[in-house]
């Protein structure tokens, strides 16, 4: 059964603690950069 989901645009993200969000993002980005520095991108995507 197909269900149409609702997507609501909100003014700002007030739920996440900004400091915690920053820490979370830093951790994820560091992890991603480390991997991408080592392996690069898929060849078809390099630019």
């Amino acid at each position: 059964m197909l269900k149409t989901i609702k997507i609501t645009k909100v003014e700002f993200d007030s739920t996440i603690n900004e400091k915690q969000k920053h820490t979370f993002i830093e951790k994820k980005v560091t992890q991603a950069k480390k991997t991408l520095k080592r392996v690069g991108l898929p060849k078809d995507l390099e630019y």
Binding site: K9, D13, Q20, L41, L45
Partner: protein, 151 residues
């Protein structure tokens, strides 16, 4: 295949999403954040639970709410919405733990036909990128929206 998904809240710039997982352990707030890793187009997909009291977001919590398929379908939906706004984005995703990366792989495999209508997917295996194949234990993923034929 059209999986059931949760309703999404999205920030004005389309890089931050939230939804509420409802399952056997109650309601759990989830957050998805797309972060630019390298200009102009390489983005990271971060996904985790948001503590409703502290506002802390963590991708290490195992909520075990019995709705992982619906959650993964919702995360995929957020990537769809995000990439409509940022069509040239390369979206990088890596689980916080091998088991979470495996969960992503299972979600991608189960919805492969539907996802590849819109996205190209690559998987990282032994430090090499390969076009995604079902049931292969990748370490990370990159997805990119296909060029819109009617662009």
């Amino acid at each position: 295949m059209n999986l059931d998904k949760y309703d999404l809240k999205v920030s004005q710039n389309f890089i931050s999403f939230q939804f509420v997982s409802e399952g056997k352990n109650g309601k759990i707030l989830k957050g998805i954040i797309f972060t630019l890793i390298e200009a102009p187009n390489i983005w990271n997909l971060g996904f985790g639970d948001i503590d409703a009291i502290s506002g802390e977001i963590s991708d290490l919590v195992v909520s075990d709410n019995g709705d992982s398929e619906k959650i993964l379908a919702t995360v995929a939906q957020s990537a769809l919405v995000f990439s409509e706004k940022y069509p040239d984005a390369l979206i990088y995703a890596e689980g916080s733990t091998p088991s979470r990366t495996r969960l992503y792989r299972i979600g991608l495999s189960r919805n492969f036909e539907k996802i590849t209508e819109t996205f190209m997917i690559w998987g990282l295996l032994d430090d090499e990128w390969y076009p995604f194949q079902k049931n292969t234990d990748y370490q990370a993923f990159v997805v990119k929206r296909k060029v819109d034929k009617f662009g």
